[in-house]
């Protein structure tokens, strides 16, 4: 009896999954999104999100015009962060260039540059930054540090000693050797999976509701759990396909390595996919229409991107934000995936994060099934 009941349940589950795959393969837009979204995102994020700013349009006003000041400018150029587009002698012109946005940064070397380097406590060089582009201020801090630090304690710039401690600080924030893509791509797996998994699943059940199919489904022996699991199964595979796409493109375009074991990586991705699908399912029980589902999905997406440590370091966030971030599966996945991909960590080392993800999935599934049952009413 129990065996035949199990078999009937599996048959229903399989029927739902088959139907879902069939519908997906006929919905060209969605099908295209499965491959298109990760491709587009990784190329977009990989190239666009670049903390290591390069070739910043810069205007230089060298009032000193000595060999030392020229050497300083050469040093600046060598960092490749700045691209000296203009040189000027007039502060009016410099201001104009900045105002018009033709230069994002200005370097002003005072006429008593060398004297200031030797003994003066006044700033050696003034760097003006376009404040409308917030990231640049940090960059500028780094730039100011680089040339002086390289000379620190070994000759002509030793007079800059007093400035050195502050500048060392800046330098730790900004490491010109480090490529952002290496940090971004692993986390991007999580971001893209969150984006597509939550979007797809939140729409999946709502679509049945919106098109009136749900009313028929409820009248059949199909249980809520069978319906949900059956609908989610195909997306698990889609998630794994997307993970593969990101890994391949990441390695190919951005030379992002996988230091740890691939098995660990996919196992972690599987747990994370399940957790995000759970979230999508929960969203789908809240929404009445696909439009609402998409809005709600985006509502969960934004905190995931901002708070999960993808954009900003987790430690730097206020405690309240950290608590919120703890609730997001992406936060934990980022820890796991960076460990595996970049530091070569083993999956079991991330048992705490895995536990949190599993807990998240369990809660979401329970809430979704309970809420869905209520919805028949």
């Amino acid at each position: 009896m129990a065996v035949s009941r199990m078999r009937a349940a599996v048959r229903r589950l399989k029927a739902v999954a088959t139907k879902e795959v069939r519908q997906l393969s006929r919905d060209r837009v969605t099908f295209g999104m499965i491959v298109g979204v990760p491709l587009m995102q990784i190329i977009l994020f990989g190239y666009a999100i670049n903390y290591d700013v390069r070739n910043l349009a810069t205007v230089v006003q060298d009032d000193a015009n000595t060999s030392m000041s020229r050497e300083f400018i050469a040093q600046l150029k060598a960092t490749q962060v700045v691209h000296i587009t203009y040189t000027t002698r007039s502060s009016d012109e410099l201001e104009r260039l900045m105002r018009e946005g033709r230069a994002s940064m200005a370097v002003v070397i005072p006429h008593d540059f060398e004297r200031r380097l030797q003994a003066d406590t006044r700033p050696v060089v003034q760097i003006l930054v376009d404040g409308s582009q917030p990231q640049l201020a940090v960059v500028a801090g780094g730039i100011a540090a680089v040339p002086l630090l390289t000379r620190h304690g070994e000759g002509p710039y030793s007079g800059g000693k007093r400035m050195a401690p502050r500048r060392i600080e800046i330098r730790t924030l900004y490491n010109p050797e480090k490529r952002t893509a290496v940090q971004i791509v692993p986390a991007l797996i999580g971001v893209i999976l969150t984006m597509t998994m939550v979007l797809f699943t939140s729409g999946a059940i709502v679509r049945e509701r919106e098109r009136g199919n749900l009313e028929l489904l409820i009248a059949t022996p199909l249980s809520s759990l069978e319906l949900m699991v059956g609908k989610l199964l195909p997306y698990v595979f889609i998630g794994l396909i997307q993970t593969t796409i990101i890994l391949i493109v990441g390695a190919w375009l951005f030379s992002v390595p996988v230091v740890g074991r691939l098995v660990d990586l996919y196992a972690a991705a599987l747990v994370f996919i399940a957790a995000t699908l759970g979230l999508g399912l929960f969203v789908s029980t809240l929404a009445q229409t696909q439009f609402q589902a998409f809005q709600l999905a985006f509502l969960t997406l934004l905190p995931s991107i901002l708070l999960s440590g993808f954009m900003f370091p987790f430690e730097g966030m206020p405690v309240a934000a950290q608590w919120l971030a703890e609730l997001l599966p992406l936060t934990h996945f980022n820890v796991i995936i960076r460990g595996i991909m970049l530091r070569g960590a083993d999956l079991p080392e991330a048992w705490l994060q895995l536990l949190k993800l599993s807990g998240f999935l369990t809660v979401m599934l329970i809430v979704a099934v309970v809420r869905f049952k209520k919805r028949l009413d």
């Binding site: 029927a15 139907k19 009136g212 199919n213 028929l216 059949t220 028949l376």
Partner: protein
């Protein structure tokens, strides 16, 4: 299959509220098996809500209902296996073909034995052979309806709940559809069908007229027409706008319906000289017309029943 003559559905004081709105208001039902039983009522009268409660999709706010002696609340799962439901809106998958839709439903109901043969049988019965690989979304209203009925009857349910099944189909498809319903009933199935078409209601074995969530009349169509609480007068030759206006002003007139050149007047039964009064009124206004007592139609029954309901509040 349950025995003919047994009670398939019984409900006592079945009630459903949505917030402050009472959608179904203390309805009693006793529907014998093997019959076609109709719910006649306007849109929003609570027909769909009642059907949904009977298939366990909605919980009653009050009262209880049993299907084959099983509680619709506690034994909903057991009932679902013996029940076919066809929602008002086409609810199969528009991006799936006929065969795919039927196959899916067969899996959901756990059809045993030769599933392909059963599906082929349904295709033949419901004239779907040419539509095997056509996606449901591209079908006409009549084709969709045949597919929906084929899907709902695939597992040979003992009870078939049909929610306004013919609202999107042409007259010929409607006739064919009813032929099939009679065949199913002959095969032993109990059919509960909601409609707002009088001609369909008239074909049912039993009928409940529902208005504003309440059952306002029940019986066989013939008995309902015979027992109508009104006298019906037909007036021929008074097709202007004046006559209906004048007649409506009479305190004992329930309603006036214009049918071409004829007017149908529903008059209170207690007024014995209604015919004379009508003639006098028309003569006073120089309208030449013939007034005649006639037998009630189902529509008359409906108008009288729903009118009484409105006055009763």
């Amino acid at each position: 299959m349950s025995e003919p003559g047994q009670t398939a559905i019984s409900a006592r004081q079945l009630t459903r509220k949505f917030g402050a709105k009472v959608a179904v208001d203390h309805i009693d039902l006793d529907i014998p098996s093997g019959r076609i039983y109709g719910f006649l009522g306007p849109n929003g009268s609570g027909k769909s809500t009642t059907l949904r409660m009977l298939c366990g999709m909605l919980l009653p706010s009050d009262g209880h209902a049993e299907v084959f002696g099983l509680s619709v609340v506690k034994d909903a799962e057991a009932i679902r296996r013996r029940l076919g439901y066809m929602p008002q809106k086409f609810s199969l998958w528009e991006d799936l073909t006929t065969d795919e839709n039927l196959r899916f439903m067969a899996d959901l109901y756990g059809l045993e034995g030769n599933v392909e043969a059963r599906i082929a049988e349904q295709r033949a019965t419901y004239n779907l052979e040419d539509l095997r690989t056509q996606r449901a979304g591209t079908m006409s209203g009549g084709q969709k309806q045949r597919l929906a009925l084929a899907a709902a009857t695939l597992h040979s349910p003992e009870l078939l709940l049909l929610d306004e099944p013919t609202s999107a189909v042409d007259p010929q498809s409607r006739r064919d559809f009813w032929e099939r319903l009679f065949q199913l009933a002959e095969g032993g199935a109990t059919i509960l069908v909601s409609t707002h078409y009088m001609d369909e209601a008239e074909r049912c074995h039993g009928l409940a007229i529902i208005a504003e969530g309440r059952m306002v009349a029940e019986g066989t169509p013939r008995a309902l027409m015979a027992a109508v609480d009104a006298n019906i007068y037909e007036i021929e030759g008074a097709d202007g706008s004046e006559a209906p206006r004048l007649i409506r002003e009479l305190p004992w007139v329930h309603g006036v319906t214009q049918l071409g050149i004829r007017l149908r007047v529903l008059a209170n039964r207690s007024v014995k000289d209604a015919e004379v009064q009508l003639r006098t009124l028309l003569k006073q206004h120089h309208i030449e017309a013939k007034v005649e007592l006639t037998s009630a139609s189902l529509e008359d029954v409906f108008v009288v029943a729903t009118r009484r309901e409105n006055n009763g509040r």
